[in-house]
């Protein structure tokens, strides 16, 4: 790989790559506002200016400026080298680039930073971005001086509702056009534009339109400052109280990598943020995905149920023993859950094999809409994983046939939702002699009909592995403490096993993973696992 030198350090680069991107790949940040690794480079913020040593046969481009001799009040002509934006300039083999080591660069940066704050309201105390704002970070790193302009700043529209999800504050906007470019280049819906001129510029939504569709949250995400806020997160939390867990979105089979931001003080999830993964979601997530963090709290099963009445888990387990204790194994079906983790599913498989049943089926969420950006029609997060663990598991429709035919009379299921939520779903399940469901959410026929329900942790409360539609195995970390009486699904399965006199031999997640990693050769590593 060719290299160039940045502040004396060798930086490898892909031919054609910009200086800023090559540095970014090495974990070196050249300060920037408008550049984003997933968008085009307009080079408008000028924060990334660097000094490039001219090639031996090139003359440096020098600019005439002045210095003030304060003693005499005379200006003295001086020169400075022309700086170039690192986001625009392609890296060149052997070139020497000066960033932090150039006095000229430092001067330019501190002035760009000062320019950006010149008409900024500096309303950090009431701004949602505070704590994760580039203006704050770079002020500290590259400016650090008080505001020299003491007059009333320019006023611009504030609290402009762009659409159902996004609110705009023109005074905080640094005109980096990331939001415009995201809508045009990634969402393929060029609904945002710039209007006015000079320091009156503002972002607006095209006449007759709203900022809507499936990718509006991302404009807030790409906005480096507090100019765009989401109706959902606005005024809800201060980010410095939040912790982030590396999570995987459960909204569909794409498995976008995300940070789940939560407040540990209240055990409450507050939002999702995309986590960069070139192989999966690049830098983005869709709106339904972004909002799916709410499933950490909404629609949850937090207590055990017997006959649809709340019971202590112990009582529910005793009921399980009564229902399944001495049934012939060939009548007991095990329904794997495409919305549950590999760990939970593995434990259910282990139970089936201990009980000597080979009646395996699988269930998952009903299919939905898809697009060619991120969204998959398969709304389950782990169908690929389930089918990899149990290639012979039969689809849910076959289960219904087998129940109607009287072959299956007892069921142990992971999850609540079923692929085709039809009316005969419920009536068929109603024919069962026993239905035990282990689930985190109450969103389908399985938990609605079940004789016994055991509360499982959601993906947010237990670490779990999910295989996305491309077969990529991804780990989602635990963020929250288990809510109510819920326990990780595999623990509930192990408890059921114990009631029925079997020992699955697992006490920790690690043991489950060791069990399948030992047998499965084609394991994909994902960044989340590393």
């Amino acid at each position: 790989m060719p290299t160039f030198k940045l502040d004396g350090r060798e930086i490898p680069f892909e031919p054609g790559e910009s200086i800023i991107k090559a540095a970014w790949r090495q974990g070196i940040e050249i300060p920037h506002y408008c550049w984003h690794p997933g968008l085009s480079a307009p080079a408008n913020c000028r924060m990334c200016l660097v000094e490039i040593k001219p090639a031996p046969n090139q003359r440096p481009v020098m600019l005439d400026i002045v210095e003030l001799d304060r003693a005499t009040g005379e200006y003295k002509p001086v020169q400075k080298p022309k700086l170039m934006p690192a986001c625009q300039m392609p890296a060149v083999e052997g070139q020497e680039v000066f960033s932090d080591s150039s006095q000229h660069v430092k001067e330019a940066r501190s002035h760009v930073q000062e320019f950006l704050l010149l008409n900024h309201p500096v309303d950090c105390p009431i701004c949602d971005q505070a704590g994760e704002c580039k203006l704050q970070d770079y002020w500290l790193e590259h400016q650090g001086t008080q505001k020299r302009m003491r007059d009333e700043p320019i006023h611009k529209p504030k609290g402009v509702v762009f659409g159902p999800t996004i609110v705009y504050d023109g005074e905080r906007c640094v005109m980096c056009t990331r939001c415009i470019r995201f809508m045009e280049e990634v969402a393929k819906d060029p609904v945002l534009e710039m209007r006015e001129r000079g320091n009156l510029n503002e972002i607006f939504v095209a006449e007759g339109r709203k900022l809507d569709g499936n990718y509006t949250f991302m404009v807030e995400h790409v906005c480096p400052v507090g100019a765009l806020t989401t109706q959902d997160f606005r005024f809800k939390a201060r980010v410095w109280f939040l912790r982030s867990a590396k999570s995987v979105c459960q909204g569909c089979a794409t498995g976008c990598n995300a940070y789940l931001d939560y407040d540990p003080r209240y055990n409450k999830a507050h939002r999702y943020r995309p986590r960069d993964n070139e192989a999966v979601n690049k830098f983005w997530m869709c709106d339904p995905g972004m909002l799916s963090y709410k499933r950490a709290h909404e629609g949850r099963i937090t207590e055990a149920r017997v006959g649809q009445k709340s019971r202590a888990t112990k009582e529910a387990l005793a009921e399980v023993k009564k229902l399944l204790g001495d049934v012939a194994p060939e009548h007991v079906a095990f329904v794997l859950g495409a919305q549950a983790s590999l760990e939970d599913n593995w434990s259910l498989l282990a139970l089936a094999s201990k009980m000597g049943s080979s009646r395996l089926y699988w269930t998952g969420a009903p299919a939905g809409a898809s697009d060619d950006i991120l969204i998959s029609a398969d709304k389950s997060s782990n169908q690929k994983g389930v089918l990899a663990l149990a290639p012979n598991a039969k689809p849910y429709s076959v289960l219904l046939d087998d129940v109607r035919g009287g072959v299956v009379t007892h069921v142990v299921a992971l999850g609540s939702a079923t692929p085709a939520a039809g009316a005969d779903d419920a009536s068929t399940l109603g024919m069962l002699r026993a239905l035990v469901a282990i689930a985190a959410h109450d969103d389908g026929a399985l938990t609605a009909i079940a004789h016994v329900v055991l509360p499982a942790c959601s993906w947010a409360e237990a670490p779990g592995t999910y295989v996305n539609k491309d077969g990529l195995r991804q780990l989602s970390d635990k963020a929250l403490e288990p809510i109510g009486a819920s326990k990780p699904g595999w623990e509930q399965v192990a408890a059921v096993a114990k009631q029925l006199g079997h020992d699955l031999g697992i006490k920790r997640v690690k043991e489950i993973r060791a069990a399948w990693l030992g047998t499965e050769a084609a394991a994909h590593a994902s960044p989340a696992e590393q």
Binding site: C45, I65, Y75, F115, L118, R197, L200
Partner: protein, 460 residues
């Protein structure tokens, strides 16, 4: 050296001078295009054009022929010639006269230019407000089409040519060539990043040459007499600054206007011989040599070029008023030739008010795309305004050059320099006047005009 010519301006003042008949009678109209299209090869046209040493008349002074030579045929895309007739630079009023009084020279120039760079269509981007200019160009195009000069087979040659007039977007920044291309394409008039340069990806992503209107209008006369001979009309032909051009003067002169002269004219000749001298016979105070973006010269400045190798050495020790108006000569004296239309400031003009006037313009016209220009231009105006209003502090005065220094070179387009250079120019040359305002020794004239007349001149 004052040498008036009338290659381009022969039709000026003639009855119906803008019509095809007069153009053909007085200016060998379309004979040159006919000869070039029927006898010359494309590359020969470019080589010939280089010899004319026509320095771009839009302000930057880039050699026209060299710019044409950057055009490479694209395997799939057409090429375009785009003519910049946005003429928005304050103090610039020359292109307009050509469009109104000799529009056929523009059309003929476009034909030769297109042929040379391999284009079949030329777009003339005319500043929105210039309604008569547009009408005259449209009429000229219609006449040229009716005669078959423009069309599928100009002069029977199988080289289709068309010229289209496009009404501008109504902003100064649309005169910057890449902004102009955006505007032409129906986008927001914002400069593009370079590279790619227009010759690589210009109008509609195709190879494009952008020439100023006067630049292209000079082409027929240059090719008519032979480009080298044309270049030699200039007194500074040896500095690769050739031919004849339009010289304008405005501001405090008795006879503001535009004249065609051989390159080599001096400011003194322009102001006194052509412009009729300073209004009210006042002493000359300062000159903005070529549009508002070019740094101001004091009337009492002398050339400092002791180095014998310097192209300016022949004028060492002389007044800047006696240096020939040329691209490199004016760069040598620390300013720019720009558009070659000088603005004259008479004694009594307040430089603080003058700078304030310019800063108002730049603050208003910045496209706002890049940070230093968007915010810096507004800050420069704020402080200048406070100083002019008697509210400025010494601390703020001392911030002005720092702001300009940090706009300079740090922006996407040359508008940034166009703002910083005049600001630094006024500061460097008139710091004492700014200080006098801060100390309250001088006040703004009550009617807000730039000129402080003898009767309402307050203070020194």
């Amino acid at each position: 050296m004052l040498k008036r010519t009338d290659y381009l301006t022969k039709t000026y003042g003639k009855p119906e001078g803008w019509t095809l008949g007069v153009y053909e009678r007085e200016c060998h109209g379309y004979q040159t295009a006919r000869r070039v299209l029927s006898t010359m090869k494309k590359d020969d046209v470019v080589n010939e054009a280089k010899k004319a040493n026509i320095r771009g008349r839009g302000g930057a002074g880039f050699p026209m022929g060299v710019k044409w030579s950057f055009m490479r045929p694209h395997p799939t895309k057409p090429a375009y010639l785009v003519i910049n007739a946005d003429e928005g630079e304050p103090g610039t009023h020359k292109d307009r006269t050509i469009m109104e009084l000799n529009p056929h020279s523009v059309i003929e120039g476009c034909m030769i230019g297109c042929y040379g760079i391999g284009a079949h269509v030329a777009y003339i981007y005319v500043r929105d407000e210039l309604h008569l200019s547009k009408a005259r160009l449209w009429a000229a195009i219609a006449e040229a089409k009716a005669k078959g000069y423009l069309g599928a087979r100009p002069f029977g040659v199988d080289y289709p040519l068309d010229v289209v007039v496009h009404t501008g977007g109504g902003a100064y920044i649309c005169g910057e060539e890449t902004s102009l291309l955006n505007s032409l394409e129906g986008r927001r008039g914002e400069p593009r990043l370079k590279p790619p340069f227009p010759a690589q990806a210009g109008a509609f992503g195709c190879p494009t040459t952008v020439n100023n209107l006067e630049t292209i209008a000079a082409v027929p006369s240059a090719f008519h007499m032979g480009c080298e001979a044309f270049s030699k009309l200039s007194a500074i032909h040896h500095l690769n600054d050739g031919g004849v051009r339009l010289f304008g003067v405005n501001g405090h002169v008795k006879n503001p206007g535009v004249w065609e002269c051989a390159v080599g004219l001096t400011l003194r000749e322009l102001i006194y011989d052509l412009g009729g001298g300073v209004l009210g016979d006042k002493p000359l105070f300062a000159i903005i040599p070529g549009g508002s973006s070019t740094p101001v010269l004091r009337a009492d400045e002398l050339v400092h070029a002791p180095d014998e190798k310097s192209p300016l050495h022949p004028w060492h020790g002389q007044s800047v008023l006696d240096v020939p108006l040329g691209v490199d000569t004016f760069r040598g004296i620390g300013t720019m030739l720009g558009t070659c239309c000088a603005t004259v400031l008479a004694e009594g003009t307040c430089p603080v008010a003058a700078m304030h006037n310019l800063m108002q313009f730049y603050r208003h016209e910045s496209c706002g795309q890049c940070t230093p220009c968007r915010e810096g231009s507004g800050w420069l105006l704020r402080i200048t305004e406070k100083i002019l209003d008697g509210r400025g502090t010494m601390e703020e005065l001392d911030q002005l050059h720092d702001i300009a220094n940090n706009i300079m070179g740090n922006t996407i387009c040359a508008f940034g320099e166009g703002t910083a250079m005049p600001a630094l120019g006024f500061l460097k040359k008139f710091r004492r006047e700014f200080e006098a305002y801060v100390r309250g020794e001088k006040k703004k004239s009550t009617d807000g005009r730039l000129t402080v007349d003898h009767h309402d001149f307050v203070g020194g």
